[in-house]
Symmetry: C3
Subunit: 346 residues, 3 copies
């Protein structure tokens, strides 16, 4: 498909600077722009690329005025970043949706599938599972007994969902995600450990997205619960009986130990670890690689291992930086005191 600058400007309610007949058939990053592609400029760090890019069209913010001549046709829009996101989503939406039920699938006799559902080859749907409208189940997915999956949810190839778990509407689970494996529960018995059965489940509310190979364990009793709008990146571990509040987002490789509660609207950097049985408030931001060992209240930024509020963490970091000077100073003081003592006849 090919679009003119005019068509795109009309769609985005933007204003053209340059050739309204400039044509594009793909999107690109401004620094990788090629003729026939459309790019965007939102971050001022990237302005210099505007004067070099080979993209045919560039979206810019309404309040931005180039200081040098630009080859590309420009379209001024209210917010270049969100306009670009809209175009990206249009390209994605234009792809032929998957449909139909492959005959090489295991679908338990008690399961009835809406006609709008896609089930790819070699997927397994256990007894009494309930699958909503427009659900896309890619190949090699496992859905255990009594699992409920809301409408418009996508399960990419190889997702595994253990029995009794509940997945909301409009969720996306990427390949290799494991939902509902046993929580890590063992009781010491003499020199060995005995397993404690994990009879709870996992509940994902609506609009949750889970990255590739992330694991969310079932609760010992009750539910491990991921609230509406949560976005988890790849290779994250969520232990049994954890609760993650609405619209919290976590970067890759975070790990949350058992029974910890995380509030809503939090943002975690990558490789963060949270101890078990702690409470993190709402709107808490945690720096990458932090290790959180205790409760933190709402509305703060913390980092470090062990994690501290930003101000304290910065102070500690700053002091460690000052250490070389301090040590020199102490050496100097030692010399001076020695001299003073000599002067005083000691």
């Amino acid at each position: 498909m090919e679009f003119t600058a005019q068509q795109i400007a009309d769609f985005l309610q933007g204003e053209i600077i340059g050739n309204p007949e400039a044509k594009v058939n793909n999107l690109s990053k401004i620094e990788e722009g090629a003729p026939g592609t459309l790019s965007f400029l939102a971050n001022s760090k990237y302005i210099h690329y505007l004067y070099e890019t080979k993209s045919s069209i560039v979206l810019i913010n309404k309040d931005f005025t180039p200081e040098h001549p630009v080859k590309a046709t420009l379209i001024r829009v209210k917010d270049a970043y969100s306009s670009m996101a809209m175009l990206l989503n249009m390209v994605e939406a234009a792809r032929q949706p998957k449909s139909g039920i492959n005959p090489n699938t295991f679908i338990a006799t008690s399961v009835s599938l809406p006609a709008s559902v896609y089930v790819g080859a070699y997927s397994y749907i256990g007894e009494n599972a309930i699958i909503g409208e427009n659900v896309k189940i890619y190949p090699q997915v496992y859905i255990g007994e009594n699992v409920k999956i809301g409408h418009d949810t996508i399960l990419y190839p190889g997702v595994k969902i253990y029995r009794d778990c509940v997945i909301g509407n409009n969720c996306t689970l990427h390949s290799g995600v494991v939902i509902g494996a046993d929580g890590f529960g063992f009781a010491p018995m003499g020199e060995t450990y005995v397993k404690i059965a994990q009879i709870g489940n996992v509940v994902l509310e609506d609009y949750v997205e889970i990255g590739a190979n992330t694991t969310i364990d079932r609760a010992t009793m009750g539910s491990t619960r991921i609230h509406r709008g949560v976005k988890l990146d790849n290779l994250i571990q969520v232990a049994h009986n954890v609760e993650i509040g609405e619209n919290t987002v976590m970067a890759a490789q975070c790990g949350i130990a058992g029974s910890t509660k995380v509030g809503s609207h939090c943002m975690f950097g990558g490789q963060v670890g949270l101890a078990g049985h702690i409470n993190i408030g709402n709107h808490v931001n945690i720096g990458a690689q932090s290790g959180v060992t205790k409760d933190f209240e709402d509305n703060q930024t913390i980092f470090g291992s062990p994690a501290q509020p930003k101000r304290e963490a910065f102070r500690t970091a700053g002091m460690i930086k000052r250490l070389p000077n301090v040590l020199n100073l102490v050496d100097e003081l030692q010399q001076e005191v020695k001299r003073l003592k000599q002067k005083l006849g000691e």
Copy 2:
């Protein structure tokens, strides 16, 4: 199924305080208690929930006496936690066990399966594999050539076991576990690397449990060996030729580099990293996120990155906490020495 307080007290050899006819059909956490459920109280942090819980029955320790009136029927037992674990395991055991061999499976002609084995759809069992009695192989599992699996072992959906590996009796491997992928062995050759074939295997002894998406690499030569009773949580990396001693447990996202030996009865917090070619003794506890760079002997607790014995690690942490005061003190000393110098006519 429904049970009365009397039936449960008889089974657990406990003593009833309250209504022996109170009925329950499920288990719950005390803070999430609902009518018709049974909870337990073991941790004194949770005592206040006892007076609010809606659970119909609560297990308490023999030596505990409530200070306020309690609505629920209580059952006094020797150890409330282990009694609860017993009930959880009963609930689990009451589930209908999986059985039979799905026709849509690949089973090599040289393989003979005991009648007690379950094999779910789309699983693959390679030539000369040996599968013990009562093994449960869920759907989409891969078992390579010459693999041996002991009796009563469970392989959850999507487990992958490369050729020649050995899994003991009564093991549990969760979804996404990869046993026997190549160790990370490459020899530099000029500007590039050449792969070193990994011809060893992985041996899991009896009663080993491995969490979801954990990976255990095959040895270059010989075996990567996980001894009896080891419990590994999710997303752990165990490199080639590692050895982990009996009844050691590791929380999620730990990583053990090549040829390292870990003793028995160790406990690792989450996200711990161990360097290659080191030796960790028996009964060593390692704090979460520690980075272990050298040998440690038996019977100690270590943490930090690089990890130190607990006492030293605490001292270092304490000193860093004292730093602000020390810096103030140094500033003061500097002022005083200056004054003294002036007084002495310098």
Copy 3:
């Protein structure tokens, strides 16, 4: 198969010390040597094993002369380690290669497979995928639409490759690897997040090896690119639009955030984290568990969290070690200044 010391010495162009008729049928580590096996000695830390080993033959370096009597037959070679690697690779190569296309596979009608390709049971190959000569696709692999796979590449059981991705020649992807899942891209919209479609892909060039359960996300636009000869260990996260230069190797559980560029010939220890949008030069070595927050130029070793050049990181570490002494010194100075003040009548 059984070989004599003479046959092996001839093959490796080595010199025999001992019995040319000594026979071996397997390889072993020197410390685990058994009769009938061949071992090697390269690392001087292991010399004492030479005098105890039960291996029948041991490869040693040309310039090494034993100081005590040795039971095993020795073969002196130019480089014992690389000779051993050669023998390991021979053993591996002697295994019967997989071949043929299992009938229980999904192969889209538009796909034509070379006769030399192996496809194991329950694998899926989507429309317009292109598969090169001698590719080995183990069971339960997913290959999305339009994926291209070069010749002589191996995809182990359960690998998942999303649509449009490109895999080079002579690559090896281990079980559980996920290539091309969506990058973690969400734009805030009021209290919630909207997904930004990820329409790019992942490109793996030739001779890339990817460890078990590692995830490499597709680009938002353009490509996430892994250059020729890169070796990634298990459970690594590579985010969208990352670029990793030729012959860089990373140990397990590293995480690289979005749009970061890593140069060629770098070596990363385990559990390293890199922030997004940074540039790491060529020949940069990064210590295990480091957290890299900014650009670093070519040819250096860095570590720590935040990562610093080796010299600075060592200095910081050394100072923290000196702290107890410094604090004592400050206490002493305080006492002495107090005394001096008294002496001066203050």
